[in-house]
């Protein structure tokens, strides 16, 4: 593969390269965005399959289908696949596709590195899946029974699969950092002339803050798991009290990453909402400046409240008080964002296409999850709730609407732009309703289970918890299967055909922004000459 100036000019001016090289060697933000999204979709189904197994096992008290170690391994794997495999890559896929289109740039700032950050993901996924399957081989050691938080001392005792997981985390970290560098540089250096930071579309703002958070916290996680690796194999005692270390230190390192991580998952979806709601309310976003400010506040305070995940470890009273107050303070800027969305809809000429349905669903359910978060933030209350199913209910209420539904909204919103075909609106709406109803049947009962004392991450439970668990498992089946409909809609839209309408350049009547001025689907290279923003 030598590159001559000739072939360069050809690639530049004559559309897409063909064959497998187009995807493996890509330097095109749209193709790389597509790769990210397809990867995320695959991981969504893998992670979903593990969740279905977990709920199937919890359908009845007692141990039916799988053994306890495998159960714990599934719980670990489910979280990691969903967070690092599905949500983050999907958000990065949206960023890749939309940021250059939105800011009038010809591509991402560093296109080759962009491809590298994508292609590290399949390697990471390989290591992650290996960490799950290695114990099934002879001599493969024990299963990862720690949960995604991989706390020592348990994680020091797990067999070799933990090393695969640690390296998977390293790879994921490298990928996220490279992607974040690229996004920050693109946003700071590639905006069309005249587009000041405060004129930048909100989705770009949310990703700027997200990328910033990633660069700050992912290296800390990498450092933490590196220490874990050394404790496991090279005789250090970072997390071993006998040598003067402290297992709690790992928790601090993990949650210094982990709490900002929840905003990393949330913010890109908030960005999507900031486009979907104005489009379908046919009004500009209410309070652009306050949105930016609120987001910066969330990111800043979010960096210094991590220990609300560790109230029960025995911190000093001063420390828990500080972390409690800080955590509750975050709900102020988060609430502000929600109010901005509501104010945007106020007296708007609203229509309820699928992306808008998801947006409204998000506002209702995410707020609910935020409220249970405030309950958890209160130290004496959390002493009861901690490590119970209530926490599981909380984070699914914030993450599923706050992250996943936002991504669904984004996919429905931009799919006509990407493919040139309008998806089937009726099916979209059916998907929304099955999905949301399934979600609520699954996770609402878990609040009661948690309050009644059912612990999380345990395969068996007291018979008194049976009814709610049955309910939750049935909901999970509805919820899980509904995603097959999603898959069908996406494939149908990509393939197009006579049953679907073609999309205009401007897929939605109320849509505003540069991305709607290019074709649907856009040409292989767009904005080769930057537009002028007034």
């Amino acid at each position: 593969m030598t590159t001559t100036t000739m072939s360069h000019d050809e690639a530049h001016h004559h559309g897409a390269p063909t064959g497998w090289r187009r995807w493996l060697y890509s330097t095109n933000h749209k193709d790389i965005g597509t790769l990210y999204l397809l990867f995320a979709l695959t991981m969504l189904f893998l992670g979903g399959a593990s969740a279905m197994l977990i709920r199937a096992e919890l359908f009845q008290p007692g141990i039916q289908l799988i053994d306890p170690d495998l159960y714990n391994n599934l719980v670990t794997n489910h979280a990691l696949l969903m967070i690092f495999g599905a949500v983050m890559p999907a958000a990065a896929g949206l960023a890749n596709w939309m940021i250059p289109l939105m800011i009038g740039a010809p591509d991402m700032a560093l296109p080759r590195m962009n491809n590298l950050s994508f292609w590290i993901l399949p390697a990471a996924a390989t290591m992650l899946i290996l960490s799950f399957v290695v114990p099934f081989f002879p001599g493969g050691g024990t299963q990862i029974n720690t949960g995604w938080t991989i706390y020592p001392p348990l994680s020091v005792q797990v067999g070799m699969s933990m090393d695969f997981l640690i390296f998977a985390i390293h790879l994921l970290g490298i990928s996220s950092i490279l992607a974040s560098i690229n996004i920050i540089v693109t946003l700071l250096n590639m905006r069309a002339p005249g587009m000041t930071l405060m004129k930048m579309p909100m989705f770009c703002w949310t990703w700027l803050v997200t990328a910033f958070l990633l660069i700050l916290v992912v290296p800390v996680l990498a450092g933490g798991v590196t220490m874990l690796l050394f404790d496991r194999h090279f005789g250090t005692s970072f997390f071993d009290a006998a040598g003067g270390g402290d297992p709690v230190l790992f928790q601090h390192l993990f949650w210094f990453f982990g709490h900002p991580e929840v905003y990393i998952l949330l913010l890109p979806s908030i960005g999507v909402l900031s486009h979907v709601i104005p489009t379908f309310a046919r009004k500009p976003l209410f309070g652009y400046r306050s949105m930016v400010g609120a987001m910066l506040a969330v990111a800043t305070i979010g960096m210094v409240v991590w220990a609300h995940h560790q109230y029960t470890i025995g911190m000093s009273l001063g420390a828990v008080t500080y972390f409690m107050v800080g955590t509750i303070l975050i709900s102020i800027p988060v609430g502000l964002m929600v109010f901005n969305f509501i104010a945007t809809m106020w007296r708007g000429a609203m229509t309820f296409e699928t992306p808008m349905l998801f947006a409204i669903g998000i506002i209702l359910m995410f707020t609910f999850g935020g409220l249970s978060g405030v309950m958890l933030a209160v130290v004496p209350a959390d002493m009861q709730y901690h490590d119970s199913m209530f926490v599981v209910a909380h984070f699914h209420y914030v993450l599923m609407p706050g992250a996943v539904f936002g991504l669904f909204a984004g996919v429905f919103y931009w799919l006509p732009k990407w493919t040139g075909n309008m998806y089937n609106e009726r099916l979209g709406k059916i998907f929304f309703w099955i999905n949301v109803i399934g979600f609520n049947i699954t996770f609402f009962p878990q609040h009661f289970l948690g309050l009644a004392g059912m612990p999380r991450r345990i395969i068996d439970y007291n018979v008194m918890f049976t009814e709610f668990n049955v309910m939750s498992s049935i909901g999970a089946m509805i919820f899980g299967l509904s995603h097959l409909l999603f898959l069908y809609i996406v494939i149908q839209t990509i393939r197009g055909g006579r049953s679907l309408k073609k999309s205009e350049n401007k897929s939605w009547e109320g849509a505003k922004g540069l991305e709607w001025e290019v074709g649907s689907p856009p040409a292989f290279h767009t904005w080769e000459t930057a537009p002028q923003i007034k």
């Binding site: 296109p111 590290i120 390989t126 290591m127 970072f238 006998a242 040598g243 402290d246």
Partner: protein, 290 residues
């Protein structure tokens, strides 16, 4: 490409095989490492294959970039992208070291006093390790690794501080040479910087040997050994990487690749070198001295 296009169009590279090769090399390195750490003898060969591929990748990727740069296909905006990219990469490195410095802080100021019975939960000490008294340096209540002598600041470490600080000065001097189009000063400055850097690495290796053979200070010497070797070890690794990058830059300087206005690669390496320098100052103060 016409001159007009060059000035207004952002450079988008052709499709490139390097990222996928990067993926394969990283995967085989880490996959092999995971096997090797668990006693699978095949593992280390997979690691070596991965590392060789990685070296080939760096070589090939940078060769492409240099060729593009020399054929004048980058404009100012592209140059700015590279610069910003490097800065944010260094920012992420700062936080990587931050994790280790933070851990050192936590262990010395929170974990050890707690083990020593301080605070309202200090009673656990009576149950677990009633003999243990908080001290630093410490190998913990179990005295893991046996008695050891900690590393003092005023021998080799002080000398190493001097070496690295002077190398910071020599690379700045080289930069001045570059800006004044004085190639000889540039090359000499770089050679001096590389020599100082390599000397630093040699001294560090000697110090480790001394610590292992005479002070009984090992990676297993409780939490003091852990933090000492992890912090200085990762730093030493970064110095080594920096020196390799400097050598590459030296080669390019001798080929007169850089001009007073176009020398991003030089500056990127110089920033990296200064970063490594600053980390060392932190190490000297918090690991060796205090």
């Amino acid at each position: 490409m016409s001159a007009k296009e060059h000035s207004s169009h952002y450079f988008i590279p052709d499709p490139s095989p390097w990222p996928v090769i990067g993926m394969i090399s990283l995967l085989s390195t880490l996959f092999g490492a995971a096997l090797a750490m668990n006693g699978v003898s095949l593992g280390k060969f997979i690691v070596i294959a991965g590392l060789l591929l990685f070296a080939y990748l760096l070589f090939g990727w940078f060769r492409d970039v240099i060729a593009e740069n020399l054929s004048d296909r980058y404009n100012k905006q592209v140059d700015r992208s590279f610069r910003m990219g490097m800065m944010w990469f260094i920012a992420s490195e700062v936080f990587f070291f931050g994790a280790f410095f933070g851990s050192l802080y936590y262990i010395r100021n929170i974990a050890l006093p707690w083990l020593g019975g301080e605070g309202y939960l200090g009673v656990t000490q009576e149950i677990l390790y009633s003999q243990f008294q908080m001290a630093w340096p410490s190998a913990g209540p179990g005295e893991l690794g046996g008695a050891f002598t900690p590393m003092g600041p005023w021998g080799i470490p002080a000398l190493n501080t001097f070496l690295l600080l002077s190398s910071g000065a020599t690379i700045t001097w080289a930069h001045w040479g570059l800006k004044a189009e004085n190639n000889q000063q540039l090359v000499r400055g770089l050679i001096a910087t590389i020599a100082l850097g390599l000397l630093f690495v040699v001294m560090q290796a000697y110090e480790y040997g001394h610590a292992y053979s005479e002070l009984n200070l090992t990676l297993g010497s409780g939490v003091y050994g852990s933090t000492f070797y992890m912090l200085t070890g990762f730093h030493g690794f970064h110095v080594t990487m920096g020196a390799i990058m400097l050598i590459a830059i030296l080669g390019r300087s001798m080929k007169k690749h850089f001009t007073a206005h176009n020398h991003f690669a030089f500056e990127a390496v110089a920033w990296y070198w200064h970063f490594v320098d600053v980390v060392w100052l932190g190490l000297f103060i918090f690991v060796y001295w205090l």
